[in-house]
């Protein structure tokens, strides 16, 4: 099973990101589960969402305390220690940031990849919502699902030009990161 925690601020589509990722996995025939950190969500407040993916049915319903991967939608959250808390040995961090991956990795003392997700989203969608770009990058990095699975999941939510723009964003974000660089982590987790 791989366990993922998504950190962001209310309004950045954290729960949507978790639901999209789990939907893509389920549609590809995997077992998956996604849920929010169950807060009274307010715009701008730090929030978290959780995703699990496995070959077997997922029984546990507790929060993800020891994630294999952490996805950070707002780089200002990196200052709060809770964001990378419990990250597993060899776990990886994907951050929406215009800084370089080396800079972020050094700052965190962890293996991280930075993606200017908000900037990519602004270019393609006209809105700086980082979630879709981060998910595309996550799939390209891990290889856990084909990037097209995300496009299919998006097609369940969007139509027409919005969908076309999202598709272009997914392709651009997926190309922007080293392909399958994190495959060993997902392989080790048996996903």
């Amino acid at each position: 099973m791989i366990e993922i925690r998504i950190h962001g601020r209310g309004g950045q589509g954290n729960v949507v990101a978790a639901y999209l990722l789990a939907t893509a996995a389920i549609d590809e025939g995997h077992h998956a589960q996604a849920f929010p950190s169950f807060g009274a969500e307010r715009r701008g407040a730090p929030v978290a969402a959780f995703v699990r993916m496995d070959r077997e049915p997922i029984l546990r319903r507790c929060e993800v305390r020891e994630p294999h991967f952490v996805i950070v939608q707002d780089p200002t959250l990196l200052k709060s220690p809770g964001v990378t808390a419990g990250l597993r040995e060899g776990g990886r961090v994907l951050v929406n940031s215009t800084h370089s991956s080396e800079e972020i990795s050094e700052r965190l003392g962890l293996e991280a990849v930075a993606l200017p997700a908000a900037r990519l989203a602004r270019e393609h969608l006209g809105r700086p919502v980082p979630n879709t770009a981060l998910l595309a990058a996550f799939l390209a990095l891990t290889g856990v699902l084909p990037v097209e699975a995300l496009v299919k999941a998006l097609a369940e939510r969007f139509r027409g030009e919005v969908l076309t723009r999202n598709e272009a964003l997914v392709q651009a974000a997926a190309r922007a990161v080293p392909q399958r660089a994190w495959k060993e982590v997902t392989d080790a987790a048996g996903a």
Binding site: V15, I26, A32, R60, R61, E63
Partner: protein, 392 residues
Amino acid sequence: MPQALEGSQAIARAVALCRPQVVAAYPITPQTHIVENISKLVADGKFHCELVSVESEFSAASVVLGAAAAGSRAYTASASQGILLMSEVLFNIAGLRVPLVLTCANRAVSAPLSIWNDHQDSMAVRDAGWIQLYCADNQEAVDTTIQAYRISERLELPVMVCVDGFTLTHTLEPIELPSQEQVDGFLPPYHFARALDPMRPLSMGELVTPAYFTEVRHMHHTALREALPEIAAADAEWAEVCGRHSGGLVQVVREGDSGIGILAIGSVVGTFADAADHLADLPAARLIRLRCFRPFPDAALREACRGLTDLVVVERALSPGAGGIIGTEVRAALRTMRDAPRVHNFAVGLGGRDVPLELYPRLIEAARAEEETGFAILDLEPEKLPEEGLSR
């Protein structure tokens, strides 16, 4: 082929498949998404019903009571303070023997104010005379909703389908939705023999003097006791349609030969099963799940507990000043067993406190303790308590 659905969305779709003619509900966290999804299905023309906007849960319950009494299949949903505001009507619905299905998106009760999950709300209306079924996952929430209409309409008893707020309602997971044909075949059109009809006038809710009150209450109690086999049968018969069981009355989720049993209710059972499967160096305990809480399935429970030396009852609510609610009832039910196990009773996960896998070994440990635990809150964090004046 399973679909990726949020629990609330799946429940709304299941409700629509049951074709209720009247839905009335007042939004409250964490039930809101159920009502929103039903509204959307109605607005999109995918579900045809009279959707009544009301100004409170008291009105929601009153509307569905009236609708069902007038011969319409009806549905409502609520949680927490909403269930409490409904409570007067809930007793009336049950006492009038009107068939209804209500989803309780289980949430703690204020004060202190909490929007998070425990079972205090449905436990507070334990004695309202409703059938109460607790779901372990969202697939069961779907299947149990469909079964609930069948049980309710056959027995003229209302059914509360209890679904953990957030933990289930806000979790997206793979769900198999049955076809409309499957549901239609299982659930014949609603016919209420005592329906209010101006052409055949009758009275409901009359004053009952001491001459008959006792007999009416006895009939209600008897009807609930006799519901036990019907609840088990509805699960078995739905399984014949769709191939899925939802746990009957009492479900043995994992077998174990250590003499230790763990009994739990609701979605935390999945976490315990996962812990039993994956944590190392644990004696194999029998994991028992109480699906049906009202009527109380005492005989099935005794059967499930046969051969145990210790049973740990885990619950998500508290009767302040007494302790556990389910634990007390389990103790009473097991008393007549020849070799009744010791019963250790714990509350966990109050007001949404996360129940991690690591809690499971502590339950096993409690079962092996020299002393029987009457009642304790297992995940209490004593360091957070004030040093003096603990009770104030």
